[in-house]
């Protein structure tokens, strides 16, 4: 029973969102607001159930244990001061705490994952004896492509001459090929999302597909 009601609500909301393709209308607006509202409501409930209750309310207020948790709880509550202009400055403390902690935590690992390992992956031999020819082509494209891309973003010298001029031209081509690949994947992604909804409508809702 509830499953059927859920299916109908989901199907009607899907059609309401698709109606935007014809033109903007109140039904679309309604669906949009329902998505935002219900997502937020769900988030609040799950966050309370999974985090606030077992990690704060239960130990501190029901069992009287781990009273030290009151300190971060108070710090978190300072966010609410944003709503009161006179004391809104207090909300900067939890923000500063989070920013500082986030930076400290992320910096060494981010450097490792995003920069060092990526640089390391471009420091490869162009030719490896015994490797298939396409590995050599791949290695050349990676090394020269990376260098050309970096030259394009080097703005301290004019992009003229055989090194900076030619290098930046190759760089822009490499970047454009990258954009083209991304665009192709984007089209694929958007069509996939449409396929997902059409599958839902035809199969789960109407039962036309088996």
């Amino acid at each position: 029973m509830y499953e059927t009601i859920g299916l109908w609500v989901a199907a009607i909301l899907t059609l309401a969102v698709f109606s935007f393709l014809y033109k903007e209308n109140p039904l679309y607006r309604f669906a949009e607001h329902v998505v935002v509202g219900s997502s937020l409501g769900y988030t609040i409930v799950i966050t309370y159930q999974r985090v606030l209750y077992p990690r704060l309310v239960e130990p501190v207020f029901l069992h009287g244990e781990s009273l030290v948790l009151i300190v971060p709880a108070m710090l978190g509550l300072l966010y609410v001061t944003r709503f009161f202009p006179r004391i809104a400055w207090l909300s900067r403390y939890p923000m500063a705490f989070l920013l500082g902690m986030g930076m400290g935590m992320a910096f060494p690992y981010d450097m490792q994952a995003y920069i060092l390992r990526q640089i390391q992956a471009t420091l490869i031999p162009l030719y490896t004896p015994g490797a298939p020819w396409y590995n050599t082509v791949g290695a050349v494209v990676i090394v020269l492509g990376t260098l050309a891309g970096l030259i394009y973003f080097f703005f301290s010298k004019p992009h003229k001459g055989p090194f900076f001029g030619f290098g930046s031209k190759v760089g822009i081509w490499i970047i454009m090929i990258g954009f083209g690949a991304t665009f192709g994947f984007t089209v694929m992604g958007r069509i996939s999302l449409l396929i997902g909804r059409v599958q839902f409508l035809l199969s789960d809702w109407l039962g036309l597909l088996h």
Binding site: Y22, T43, R50, Y109, R117, A121, S192, I195
Partner: protein, 330 residues
């Protein structure tokens, strides 16, 4: 004489209609275009296929409903494969909505009305067996069968909560959670999403932290997948595989080349490739939703290529590349 300007200013709703036709019709007229698994998907499949009951994996349902169409089939395919190999699976979520989607995905694998699915045995249901000391997978299954339980027709096996499967669910600041799990999973998740004590679960006793985990597959529609690489791979050498939306796929190919991730499923195509491998490997009777969408995907791509070619022909044939302005379409 063709009016190229009119052609270029065609009401875009006609294009939407054409796309709609191309997306709906192939569901009824199946062509069965081949889906050839790529190396980056095959490497994830091979790794999961090499694991068994002594290993364990994480599946991160790190996406929201907006990318469900692409990410959900990946999660279902990997979960199904792991359960068929009796590989214990921990499920986490970066967002509260991801937890709901994870529950939905798991429910689709445990729906015994559909043949080829698994029978889910909740933690509380096999409590008497636990009390009697049956916590090893084989002994538990034997005792469970001896107690008169039998599999429904078409079901592939039992999934015991706490032995084969644990839904850990959502926690905020997931980077910190992954970092913490490097030392102890139970300190981050004292209980699972249903309030069961994780420390009592046999699968956690055998795999206490991320160093004892063999793979984390993160399904993401955002950069959330990088939490696993930044705080898992970099810190404790956790092998990570990505299941990302097609839009994101090009951003993460460099991470395969650098060896930071094991492999990657990119978009619905990646999920379809995994389904094909699973089916070929005998882990499922049929391929799933993603594979069914591939005919549609191919035809829609052909139509879009046609649109691009026709648009360019009209643009150059009409001489618009020489003019400064072209009336914009609707």
């Amino acid at each position: 004489m063709i009016n190229w300007e009119k052609f270029l200013n065609i009401d875009r709703r006609w294009l939407y209609l054409l796309i709609a036709v191309v997306v709906v019709v192939p569901f009824f007229i199946r062509m069965g275009l081949p889906v050839v698994p790529s190396d980056e998907v095959r490497s994830i499949y091979n790794l999961v296929d090499s694991l068994g009951p002594d290993n364990a994996i994480f599946i991160g349902w790190d996406f929201d409903p907006g990318t469900e169409a692409e990410n959900q089939p990946m999660g279902v395919a990997v979960l199904r494969h792991a359960l068929d190999r009796h590989v214990p699976v921990f499920i986490t979520a970066v967002s509260p909505l991801g937890q709901g989607l994870a529950e939905q995905g798991a429910a689709s694998v445990f729906d015994t009305r559909i043949p080829g699915n698994f029978v889910y045995v909740p933690w509380a249901e096999w409590e008497p067996f636990r009390a009697a000391g049956y916590v090893g997978r084989d002994s538990l299954e034997s005792a469970w069968k001896a107690a008169g339980n039998s599999l429904p027709e078409g079901a592939r096996g039992w999934v015991f909560e706490g032995v084969d499967f644990a839904l850990l669910g959502y926690l905020p600041y997931f980077g910190l959670v992954v970092l913490g799990m490097g030392t102890s999973i139970a300190t981050q998740y004292p209980t699972d999403a249903y309030g069961n004590n994780l420390r009592e679960m046999p699968m956690l006793r055998a795999h206490k932290n991320l160093r004892e985990i063999d793979l984390a597959v993160t399904l993401a529609g955002s950069t959330a997948c990088m939490y696993w690489v930044v705080y898992g791979t970099s810190r404790v050498g956790l092998p990570v595989a990505f299941g990302v939306t097609a839009v994101m796929a090009t951003d993460y190919y460099p991470y395969i080349q650098s060896g930071q991730i094991v492999g990657m499923m990119g978009g619905l195509r990646g999920a379809a490739e995994y389904e094909v491998l699973e089916h070929e490997g005998g882990h499922t009777e049929t391929t799933g939703k993603a594979y069914r969408g591939m005919d549609v995907q191919s035809l829609a791509h052909i139509l879009i290529i046609l649109f691009v070619i026709l648009g360019n022909i009209a643009y150059f044939a009409g001489g618009f590349h020489k003019k400064t302005a072209l009336k914009s379409g609707r």
